[in-house]
Assembly symmetry: C2
Homo-oligomer: 203 residues x 2
């Protein structure tokens, strides 16, 4: 059996959806966490200078949504046809816009620009998308696409679990259908055990 | 036959990959272009406040990579198995990081921050990724994944055709393997005709 190794920073962020799907699949994996201090030493050795990446034996997989999509059929978390996969890809893509905006805020140095980005994120981008996600969740049996669990929920719930420590907001406080979803994801077999044993990181 | 309608701004950008794939598929489509001035009127009516979107009959598809992935099997531009789709998703995801950074630069208001972002984009992000793409293209029969044409090339070539007008650089000037790729994509049946007849926009 090939060895699975997830390399990311010592936080949940974009590493967590991959850790969640592997846990859901019942795969043991090496949870390799790199400090921000050590990162410059590793950066040049990664495929495209970014984390996370996943090693499966000798194969190196990068780009978190590409990794999730690759593992999804093995996990039973893909769509059953092109229409279903479209629905999943669309909501995941929308959430990817939040991910980009958070990264953009995180990397901005200028203090006033940074503050403005955070305001826009918290007062505009996140509510705009999350209000629409609430509508989808309510219409859709509590899921983001096709009325059933897919890799999109692991992506959204896994990544946003960093928000309280990262940008000071907990989506579950404001969005009840999302709160239910997060609870449901965190109770899934494999994921429940992972969440209990995972390293405690502030974000 | 359902009607295809692409709605985007009057520029190539993220609309162009969709226009390219539809042209490659031989599909007639309505090329609906919205001015920046009119955009606020439409924004609230779009699925998630963003362009482009594609209407196929009554169905509204959003998120450009989700749209490309959905059309790809019909165009013969998807991978033939999970491993091939992974390769395509990974390079497309990497290029998506450039797309996000360009959007980030575009939306930044603070002049000095904006200037710094552009410098990073032009001197670091784009060369870092494009040098790796050059290596991949050379090793890979001139394509980004699996040694054959996929939707990833249409995404990369279509979007980056806005770069000269947008950020003042032409990838084809600096990256010979990419130049060949762009030439090849622009000579494809359907795409060749589209490129000749498409509206002339500065970006």
């Amino acid at each position: 059996m090939p060895e699975y190794k997830v390399t990311y920073f010592d936080l949940r962020g974009l590493g967590e959806p991959i850790r969640l799907i592997l846990s859901y699949m019942g795969k043991e994996f090496i949870d390799n966490r790199i400090t921000f201090e050590d990162w410059p030493k590793y950066k040049g050795k990664t495929p495209f200078g970014k984390l996370p990446f996943l090693e499966i034996g000798d194969k190196v997989l990068y780009q978190s949504t590409a990794i999730l999509k690759y593992l999804a059929p093995q996990a039973g978390l893909d769509g059953k046809n092109a229409e279903e996969n479209l629905e999943i890809d669309m909501v995941a893509g929308v959430f990817g816009d939040i991910v980009s905006d958070v990264a953009r805020w995180f990397q901005t140095k200028n203090e006033s620009e940074k503050e403005k980005l955070k305001e826009t994120l918290i007062n505009e981008t996140i509510p705009f998308i999350m209000e629409r996600f609430e509508t989808i969740l309510k219409k859709n049996g509590g899921y983001l696409a096709n009325g059933k669990l897919s890799w999109a929920e692991l992506y959204v719930v896994g990544y946003s679990s960093s928000f309280p420590g990262l940008i000071g907001i907990d989506l579950a406080d404001k969005y009840p259908a999302f709160k239910e979803l997060a609870k449901r994801v965190h109770s899934l077999p494999g994921i429940k055990e992972w969440v209990e044993k995972r390293p405690k990181s502030p974000l």
